[in-house]
Symmetry: C2
DNA sequence: GGCTGTTGATTATGCGTATTATCAAAAATG
DNA sequence: CATTTTTGATAATACGCATAATCAACAGCC
């Protein structure tokens, strides 16, 4: 079988260009481009010629130059993935991975490759050896002086994480200049329309609260982190609305990293708690234990969202599940529709899962 | 403080180019480029002019166009990452991740982004929804009809995993065509020189064996998997050499996935075992338990390499540590030297770590 | 057989930057 | 002062591709 081995003399050292392919196929460079882009602009290439060109490409091992494609205004079937640094001290790798899996799956379906954007280590240019990227730990100011500009090499970009104020300004510009961008997680920027994929945090929170109420809890508390990003706001809103809806007692507590003031539990006779994340729950539970308050007996709780640390959650903890993998998939799809320019760009929100558990306890009601 | 806010009228819709900056500063586009690139090529820009240009850039909010930079510069600053499918039933994600971390770190240092190659789902074009890429589970024939061609999008490629025969042929072609490629793990292909980064498996195995011998074991066994890829061969060799060196009794057992024949332990009065991987160790230990053989008392063992499953190894298991993250970093460095065309391309091998543990037991010696 | 419409392909141009060769003016040298 | 050297900046070009404009050949039509 005469396998299509490229001519070694031609292929050595430098990648073949459309011009060379054209030469081999006996056509013009423009024709090669047409074959590649499926005769978009009214120009027709008959099958015979198309085949000659394809053969020539195969023979030379031609592969388009992504930078040239982008510079000339075309697509290169590359989707960028960009993650902002974490605000959490623990490694975000385990957190981001499910998203990335979903992104990768759907990108494969669309026959796109992924461009994972790296950023210089915190110690600045070439000095440090610290972690970077989605496997980063700790808080840094990542972006190079170039800002987001390197993202433009891809057809579009999927972003994850929490940009700070400065980064948001830069991001706003990127988008207003027309770079197709989709966020995982709801992010709102003044002046631009930023499509996103999010989960129904409000609904999931309401669901969790109902679960507590069904177990007899009447006096409840929502414990959130001090930093309130969009999803945290959603949850708070969901909580407060559900509190009103169910006609029970509820209040919101925002916690910094210090020791929680537990008096509120005793003073207000609270028995049902919702924790925004695992870290808060850990802190609270151990502080409660110091006061002699144990979970199933003295109070019940639920966690809003899966474990952050990649490990398993302790047995019996009721919690909502964020459909991370599906969010990744949907983000790719959404980005593709943006790239098609098809419809008005909307956003997507997906339902959360729910895992019940003995941590809900049983209230006095 | 007059923060460097770009003129909103200008920033909308289209971004400024070097030409526009040049116009504002009253210089030529070439001068702007010189200012940006720090007068590399003998051309000098006096401070006064330089400052005018910088001011103009600031005023317009100029940001270089990456695509143009890379087109002109001849490099995309993109490193490809390609993983072949796993032969193991479990997800390889946890296995590959440390490598990827190292790759990402070093790529950031070199100011390169990573191109993660996705592959169409096993069900063929657009039909399936199955996993792909490094988050893949199971065994498939991934590459698109184009073969390895899309790999050439990147400046060079780092490869992981075990290519099958067909894939090796394809790979050989890719490399002989001049695509800069570095493998993580020793891979040898007939006819081409394939640089790789590997760990000193043989030395690590010898070290583990010495540890067993120091604990008094004299009759030893090496338990390896049926499939013998390069690293497995290295380990076997290291074992056999060390056995000869130490003048003890030793033999190699290659195991398929069935139940291990344990008679050998009793027949040969073996007390010290080296396991090639965690799965084999698990199988063996449970089979031994059925025969009433317990680890610390009746025999000792060590594991060659970290856990596959991403989880922790059981307490006390002695094992060697593969420097995966460092291997990832070194692979990027090696690839960079290949890209530079600097030296003759060599390969790198790194020492393994060693974690001692009670599983070594204590032999009769 | 002159006209129009279609098919198949080409030429020309632009994308934004890096770089080389070039050039004018100024400074240094004899 | 004529000539070489240095300085400061520019014009020209290449990078590889997409696309609009153009053109030649050729069919159909009255």
């Amino acid at each position: 079988m005469p396998s299509p081995v490229p001519d070694p003399a031609l292929s050595r050292r430098k990648r073949p260009t459309q011009r060379e392919v054209a030469g081999l196929a006996g056509v013009s460079q423009a024709a090669v481009s047409q074959v590649l882009n499926g005769g978009q602009s009214g120009v027709r290439i008959p099958d015979a010629t198309r085949q000659r060109v394809l053969d020539a490409m195969q023979h030379l091992g031609y592969v388009p130059n992504v930078a040239a494609q982008r510079l000339a205004g075309g697509r290169n079937r590359i989707l960028g993935v960009f993650t902002y640094e974490s605000v959490f001290p623990s490694s975000r790798r385990d957190f981001f991975n499910p998203f990335l899996e979903g992104i990768e799956q759907e990108a494969a379906v669309l026959d796109c490759d992924l461009l994972l954007h790296t950023r210089p280590a915190p110690g600045h240019l070439n000095t440090g050896r610290s972690n970077t990227g989605y496997s980063n730990t700790g808080h840094t100011k990542p972006l190079s002086p170039q800002g987001h500009s390197r993202l433009r090499l891809a057809d579009g970009t999927i972003m994850l994480g929490l940009p700070d104020q400065e980064q948001r300004a830069d991001l706003t510009r990127l988008i207003s200049e027309g770079h197709p961008t989709v966020f995982i997680g709801r992010r709102e920027l003044p002046g631009v329309l930023l499509p996103y994929v999010t989960a129904r945090y409000a609904a999931a929170t309401a669901h969790a609260l109902r679960a507590l109420v069904q177990r007899g809890h009447r006096r409840t508390l929502y414990v959130g982190a001090a930093q309130r990003h969009e999803s945290a706001l959603d949850r708070e809103r969901g909580y407060l609305e559900a509190v009103a809806d169910l006609g029970i007692s509820g209040q919101v507590l925002r916690l910094d990293d210090g020791t929680p003031h537990m008096e509120i539990m005793l003073d207000q006779q609270i028995t049902g708690i919702l924790f925004e994340n695992e870290r808060l729950a850990d802190m609270w539970l151990s502080a409660a234990a110091h006061l002699g308050l144990q979970c199933p007996q003295d109070f019940g709780f639920a966690l809003l969202g899966d474990p952050l640390y990649g490990a398993e959650l302790p047995e019996g903890w009721a919690h909502s599940r964020i459909p991370r993998q599906e969010m990744g998939r949907q983000a790719v799809r959404l980005l593709e529709t943006v790239l098609q320019g098809d419809s008005e760009l909307s956003s997507v929100d997906l339902p959360c899962g729910w895992v019940t558990g003995s941590s809900l306890g049983r209230g006095p009601g």
